[in-house]
Amino acid sequence: MSAPASTINETGATTHTWEDTGGGNLWETTVQEDAEGRIVVAHGDTLAQTIRKRRKRLEQNDHSQRNRRVVRDMIRYVYVLIDASRWTRQKDPVLPPGTRLHCILQILQQFIRQYYDQNPLSHLGFIYVKNGEAEILSPLSSNSKAHSLALQSLAQVASTQTPHQAGEFSLQNGLEVAGRSLGHQPRHGSREVVVLTAALSTCDPGYILTDTLPKLKQAHIRVSSFALSAELHICRKLAEETGGTMGVCLDKAHFREWMQGQSVPPPTLKDQVRELSCEMIRMGFPVRVSSEMAESVHATREKTILARTAYICPQCQSKNAELPVDCAVCGLKLVLASHLARSFHHLFPVATFIESPLPSTTNDDVPMTGIPSASVAVSSSSVALKMDYLSQLDGKLLISAKDDERCCFACLRPFHATAAEIISPTLQQDGEALRMQCPDCQNYFCIDCDAFLHETLHNCPGCLRK
C-alpha cells in the first residue's frame, strides 16, 4: 500500500509527496541495514497498520457507506465513458497484463455485477470514445448481460486494431453524447457520468468549460473521472463544479476500489433551485407464475421469447421475463420487494467499529491450567504457542460480550496479543491482535468479521439482539 499522494503542509496548501524532499535523503530513510548487514525496509507496514490504513481510506472516501446517514439517490442513471483512443492502447507496468484498455474492460465487468447488486433499480450505459468521436456502446438499461456482451465485443475489436488507428480522445464529444441521453431520463433519479481515461490531452470541437459545463450543471449531471496516467485539470474542474469525484490510479487494487466506491449511491446534491424533495414513483409488484406450456413472454429490447416462468404485470397482465424492468406493454416499473430491500442498507449502514486494543496481559496472569510446562511463552515452538492461547478459552457459551472478551463475538476467533510479542519477527501475526468494538452494542469483533459485516452483510449480530 502506498502513502497518500498529497499532504497539506503548514501553510495549508496541498503539496505532493514527490515534492517533499525535507527530512533527509529518501534512500537513507527507507533502506536500512540490520546488525548482520541484511537490508531491512524500515517503512514496511505491519499488518496492523495496513489494515488501519485501508479502513481509514474507505472511511474518508466521501462516497463510502460507513456510518454516513445522508440522503442518497437510490435510483441512478449512470453512463460510463471509456477511453478507447491511442492513449489506452499502451501497456502500463502498473496495470498488468495487457493494455490499459484491457484492464479497464476487465474491471468494468466486475463493476457491472456489483453495480446491479447494490442498485437494482438503477440503469447503466456505456459510451466509448475513439478517433475523436464518441458512440454509445450499450444504451441505458437494467440488463447486465447485454452490457457484458458489449464490453466483450469492444475488447475483441480493440485487440485487432493498432494504436495508430485508435485516434484521439475527445472529452467534449463524450460528454455531449452522454448528456443528450441522460437529459431524457426522469427527474427523480440521479444522473451521473463516470469518465475512465488515460489521456493527457483532449481534442474537442469547442470549449468544454463554456459550452458543455453549463449544460451539465443545468441538467444536474454529476461527472466523476478516473485518470490512469495523470490528472487532467479539466477533469478535476468538471468534477468539482458538478459535484463528482476525481481519482488517479495508483495500482490495480486501487482502481478496483475506486470503481467499487462508484457503485455506492452518492449523497444527493443540494441546490437552491431544487430543495430536498422526494417523489412518489408508481411501481408494480408482479407475481411469478410457471405454466406447463411455454408461452411467449416479453424480454429485453422488444424481443419476445418462449418461456415457462414469467412475471405478470399487475396493471396490464402481460408477461415479462426478468425483473426489474419497465413493463413492455404499459410502462409500469416492475420490481420485487427484495430489490427495494437490497438498497436499504445504504440508508441504514452499520456503525463504524472503533479499534480497541486488548488489555495487555503479562504471561504471569494467563492461567495455565492443565497444560504441561512446555507451553511457557518463550518457547518458539508453534504448537506450544497454540496451546498457550487456547488455554485462555473455556467451554462456556458466549451469549453476550461480557462472557468472554478475548474472542470475536461473531466468529469466535480468539484475539491473541501475547502471540504478537512472542513471535514478533514475523510481521504477519500481530494483525490478529486488532480488536474492533461496535459503539452501539459494545461487542468485540475480529478484523475479518469487521470487513465482512461492513462490506457484505450490513448487519451487526450484536445490535440485532436487542
Binding site: 427523480h188 430491500a341 487456547l390 469466535l412 469487521d450
Partner: protein, 375 residues
C-alpha cells in the same frame, strides 16, 4: 438448482467432488414462549385424543425436537468424513453457539476434528438449557414482541462463522487482508490440513481444495416463533450475503397451529420462504402429525439431510407460491401496485394525502409536466 443435462459419469463425479467438504450450520429456535405455546396446545389436544383412544396429533414439544435434531446432526456428521457441523441456539433475544464450544472450535482449527456424536447430544442439551436459564432469569420486562426470536442475529452469526471457515480454506469469503500471502495463518492450518487429507488420496491431486465448487456450505434454520417484522431488513441483508457467498439456506418452520384458519398463529414464515427461494434451498413446514414422535426425525432426515449437489436428482418439496408482494408501510396490507418514495424507498398503497412523506418527512415534489429537461 437446475443443472444442464450432463452425461452420467460427469454428474457423478461432480457430486463426488462437491460432497467432500460440506459445511453445515444448524440454527435452532428454542424460545421459551413459543415452545410453551406448543406444549399447552399439545396437552390440550392429547387429552381429547387419548380419551378417544387415538395417538397424539399435536405439535411437537421441545424435547422431541431436540432428539430429532440430535439424530439429524449424527447423520450429517456420519455421512461424510470431511464434513463439519456447527449448531447455534436462539431464545428470544439471546443467541449462542452451542456446538462446538469456543475451546473446541479453536482446537479444531488448529489440530484435528473428530466430532463425537455423544458430545453433540450432550453439548446441545446443556447449551440449550443454559441459554434458556439465562433468558428466563433476565430481569428485563416482557415486551409484546416476546413471542418472536432473534433469528436474524443468529443468521448473521452463522454467516460470520462460515465466512471465517471459507477465508481460512481460501475458498472465497471476505477478509480484511486481501493479499494472498497474508492469508497464511498458522493458527488455522488445521482446517486446511483436515480438508485436504480427507477422502481418497487418488483423487486428491485432481481436486483443488481451494476451488469454490469443492465446497457446499449450508445453513438450516429451524424456527418455531413468529417472524419479527422489524427484522425484515436484516433478514434480507443476510439472504443477499448468503447468495453472494454461495451459501444455501434451508428453512423448517414448526408451526403450532393445527387449524389453518386460525389467525393467531401463522402456518408459514414469509421471511424463511423468501430466503429459501432466493438462495435455492428447501423449505418445509411440517404440521400436525408430521411433528410427533419419530415423524419429525423422518421429515428432517429425508428433506434436509441431502447435501446440496445431490438435490438436483432428488425429489424434494418445492416452493411453489412464494409471496413476493410488498406490504404498505401505512396500512400493512399487501399491495401489488404502490407508490414508492424515491428517497427512503417506503411503499404506500395510496398517494400520501399530505405534502410530506410519512417516513422521511421530505416534501413531496408537485407533479410538474414541464420538468423534463434535455440538453
Amino acid at each position: 438448482m437446475s443443472n444442464p443435462l450432463k452425461s452420467k459419469r460427469t454428474k457423478n463425479s461432480t457430486i463426488q467432488k462437491a460432497n467432500r467438504n460440506s459445511l453445515a450450520v444448524i440454527v435452532l429456535d428454542a424460545s421459551p414462549l413459543a415452545w410453551g405455546e406448543h406444549d399447552v396446545k399439545r396437552k390440550a389436544l392429547d387429552r381429547a385424543r387419548q380419551a378417544a383412544g387415538k395417538s397424539s396429533m399435536g405439535p411437537a414439544i421441545l424435547e422431541e425436537v431436540l432428539q430429532s435434531v440430535v439424530a439429524l446432526c449424527n447423520c450429517v456428521v456420519s455421512l461424510e468424513r470431511s464434513s463439519a457441523l456447527i449448531i447455534l441456539a436462539v431464545a428470544n433475544n439471546e443467541c449462542a453457539t452451542v456446538f462446538p464450544r469456543k475451546d473446541q472450535l479453536a482446537q479444531w482449527m488448529v489440530g484435528s476434528y473428530t466430532p463425537n456424536t455423544q458430545h453433540i447430544s450432550e453439548l446441545l442439551i446443556t447449551g440449550v438449557a443454559e441459554l434458556l436459564t439465562r433468558v428466563v432469569t433476565n430481569d428485563k420486562p416482557l415486551d409484546p414482541d416476546s413471542r418472536q426470536a432473534a433469528m436474524a442475529a443468529a443468521f448473521s452469526s452463522a454467516l460470520c462463522l462460515l465466512n471465517r471457515m471459507m477465508v481460512v480454506a481460501r475458498a472465497g469469503g471476505i477478509s480484511a487482508l486481501q493479499q494472498p500471502h497474508y492469508l497464511e495463518r498458522a493458527e488455522d492450518e488445521g482446517v486446511v490440513a483436515m480438508m485436504e487429507t480427507s477422502g481418497n488420496r487418488n483423487n486428491n491431486s485432481s481436486l483443488n481444495a481451494n476451488s469454490k465448487s469443492a465446497w457446499s456450505p449450508r445453513i438450516l434454520l429451524i424456527q418455531a416463533s413468529e417472524d419479527r417484522a422489524r427484522d425484515y431488513n436484516a433478514f434480507m441483508n443476510c439472504a443477499f450475503a448468503a447468495k453472494k457467498e454461495n451459501i444455501t439456506v434451508d428453512g423448517c418452520f414448526l408451526t403450532a397451529s393445527t387449524n389453518p384458519k386460525d389467525a393467531t398463529t401463522s402456518s408459514s414464515s414469509r421471511f424463511l420462504e423468501q430466503v429459501c427461494d432466493l438462495t435455492g434451498g428447501v423449505y418445509s413446514a411440517p404440521s400436525g402429525m408430521a411433528q410427533v414422535g419419530g415423524a419429525l426425525t423422518q421429515v428432517l432426515l429425508s428433506v434436509f439431510l441431502a447435501p446440496v449437489p445431490c438435490r438436483a436428482i432428488l425429489n424434494l418439496p418445492a416452493l411453489n407460491k412464494v409471496d413476493f408482494r410488498a406490504r404498505c408501510f401505512e396500512t400493512g396490507a399487501t399491495v401489488d401496485q404502490a407508490y414508492v418514495c424515491n428517497l427512503c424507498l417506503s411503499i404506500f398503497r395510496n398517494r400520501p394525502s399530505g405534502s410530506y412523506c410519512p417516513t422521511c418527512q421530505a416534501k413531496i415534489a408537485a407533479a410538474d409536466p414541464s420538468r423534463r429537461k434535455s440538453i
